[in-house]
Amino acid sequence: DTFKMGLLVPGSVSEEGWNRIGYNALKGVEKELGAQVSYVELQQNPASFEKAFRDYASQGFNVILGHGFEFQDAALDVAADYPDTVFLISSSYIHEGNVIGLNTDTSQPFYLMGYVAARMGKKAGLVGGMEIPPIQQAFEGFKNGARSVDPDFPISEAYIGNFTDTTAAKEASLSMISQGADFLVPNASGATVGGYQAIAESGGDVKTFSIFSDFTEVAPNNILGLYVADYAQGVVRVVKSIQDGEVPSWNIEFGLKDADVIKFSFRDDVENGVPADIREEVEDVKAKIAAGEIKTRNR
């Protein structure tokens, strides 16, 4: 029997963002483990989650990744009926039988960004899509990082209310810039690109980091560094162990300690990039986070 893996994503895998990350993970498993893979996009419609899980499980899929916390309930409902299938849930901390949470702690790289922002800038702005955990978590890390440098560092936050409106993301960013923000991080899935656009148009004074994917082409003069999530590496690792018959016994959390999964790097080819001294400080903080000495989140 071939090993089969299914993926449930809550949106379109064509967007540079969350869903694409899940899709890449699936493709990684296909390439590296030779698994037969399949995915389904569910348009953030909770009613269809359970059916999709059952569709895969009943067809004998070995692993099903529900890419997002919202899949947890449905997986729990289904899992008991399919004890031989492992249900992985992204951004969840669950561990109940064959339902296992996988969390990439985005607050950690964002903590580093916040740190850089507070060291180099006067005011920061965060533009989110909707107020959901992956985004809240990231922003929480950013704020904690910035405040570890300067407890009064001003940070404004705005949500556009969806993940498609690039125009709104751009205008929200522009308005923050006009209100004095010189360090901006957009995080709105498909609409993110609008944020980088705004940053690029505002000249070289506004700084940012490229998140999840590489956006240097959009804002070459503004992007100080990259946070690229190679979730695929982590997922491949986990799925490999399942394939080998070792189902994880606890939920899994990827962080800066997993350098192959969360890649945080600075760009050398940008004018007014991050100076060496700050880079050293950041490396230091990064090591401490990896070692568990710094908490990037509030709880």
Partner: protein, 365 residues
């Protein structure tokens, strides 16, 4: 004398035969046309797939066979049909009254919120009370949300096209606020409400599938509203108000009250759909409880020529397309967005096949 006695039943007989024949022909027309239309739409979907490097036959395979392969698949179709039928039926009433309620999506959210509030509030209530209570809460909330647009229309002549579109956004945004704020499940990081108490869940009628009593309620209501619109005096008033308001006033009908009645009925049906989604399917409130059922419901109603009875069938048709699209993605990795294309084509080809010319075919006359 005897002659007359003898003739009566015979006249009735031929009458009956004629009526039956007419009915059969009409039914055949009514079914053949949409069926042909669906085939044409699927065929164009297949061509599109083939052009993009997929296997075109998969469309037929999945849509015509795959989705009906087992009980669970059929149950899932009916499950999806519940909100579509309910909303479609409600909109038949609104549209017959010439009220362009584009706000079923928002009314669905209002119903879902109310059902959630009720569903997480009364621990230990018997299902015999709890289930109807949740349904009523949903329906009332939907009616109230639609009623805002109704009142604005009656008292301020504010176009319901504008107000219902705006109220959609407001309902969605409010729901987002509620699940990230007041209604948020304290135990979860994700924005969602607490789970509804088990006693508030809609009883399932075909275990182990998820199909719940909502489908029976939806069909019963479709028939009830068919009777209401075309066989009751209140429904007649709604239709007259929708066609000629001067004549309606002249005939002693209260225009404002009928407008409110019709829009509230459509809102109540959408609200009920929301309650069923929460209490029958997800058991929690999420920000995205509806994948656009409210908008699809417009097409459901209009495809049925605003006939509530017909909405049962057009609702199921759309549910099949939805289910099929998911299955197509799982089995053939066809992007799900293609379903909107096929849905769009189904509507257009139904229209093109002139089902509209035959629209009275499905009505008994």
């Amino acid at each position: 004398m005897a002659n007359i006695e003898n003739e009566r039943p015979r006249a009735a007989d031929t009458d009956f035969l004629a009526t039956m024949t007419r009915f059969l022909i009409r039914t055949a027309q009514a079914i053949a046309m949409p069926a042909a239309a669906v085939l044409v739409a699927l065929a164009s979907g297949a061509v599109l797939l083939a052009l993009s490097g997929f296997n075109g036959w998969d469309v037929f395979d999945v849509m015509l066979v795959g989705v009906f392969s087992d009980t669970r698949s059929v149950a899932e179709i009916l499950l999806k049909a519940i909100p579509l039928i309910l909303i479609g039926v409600g909109l038949c009433v609104a549209f017959r009254c010439s009220i362009w309620n584009i706000g079923a999506e928002g009314q669905l959210y209002a119903g879902a919120v109310a059902a959630t509030v009720v569903g997480v509030s009364f621990e230990g209530l018997t299902p015999w009370l709890y289930v109807p209570l949740v349904m009523i809460a949903g329906a009332l909330a939907g009616a109230a949300w639609a009623g805002i647009a109704g009142l604005l229309k009656v008292y301020f002549r504010a176009s319901e096209i504008v107000t219902t579109i705006m109220l959609n956004y407001i309902a969605l945004i409010s729901t987002s606020y509620l699940v990230t704020g007041p209604l948020k499940d304290a135990a979860a990081a994700y924005p969602q409400s607490a789970r509804l108490f088990k006693e508030a869940w809609m009883p399932r009628i075909l275990p182990p599938t998820r199909l719940h009593i909502g489908i029976l309620v939806a069909i019963a209501l479709a028939i009830a509203f068919y009777v209401f619109l075309f066989r009751s005096s209140a429904g007649f008033a709604v239709r007259v108000v929708g066609t000629n308001q001067h004549a309606a006033r002249y005939a002693g009908m209260n225009v404002g009250r009928n407008v409110l009645l019709a829009i509230c009925i459509s809102g109540a049906m959408a609200g009920l759909a929301g309650a069923f989604e929460v209490a029958g399917v997800t058991h929690r409130l999420y920000q995205n409880i509806s994948p656009g059922y409210g908008f699809e419901g417009i097409a459901v109603a209009l495809l049925a020529n605003n006939n509530p009875f017909g909405a049962i069938f057009s609702g199921i048709l759309f549910a099949v397309l939805r289910s099929g699209s998911e299955l197509m993605q799982i089995t053939a990795q066809v992007p799900q967005v293609l379903v909107s294309v096929i849905q769009g084509m189904v509507i257009l080809s139904v229209v093109a096949f002139g089902v509209y010319r035959f629209r009275s075919a499905i009505h008994p006359k």
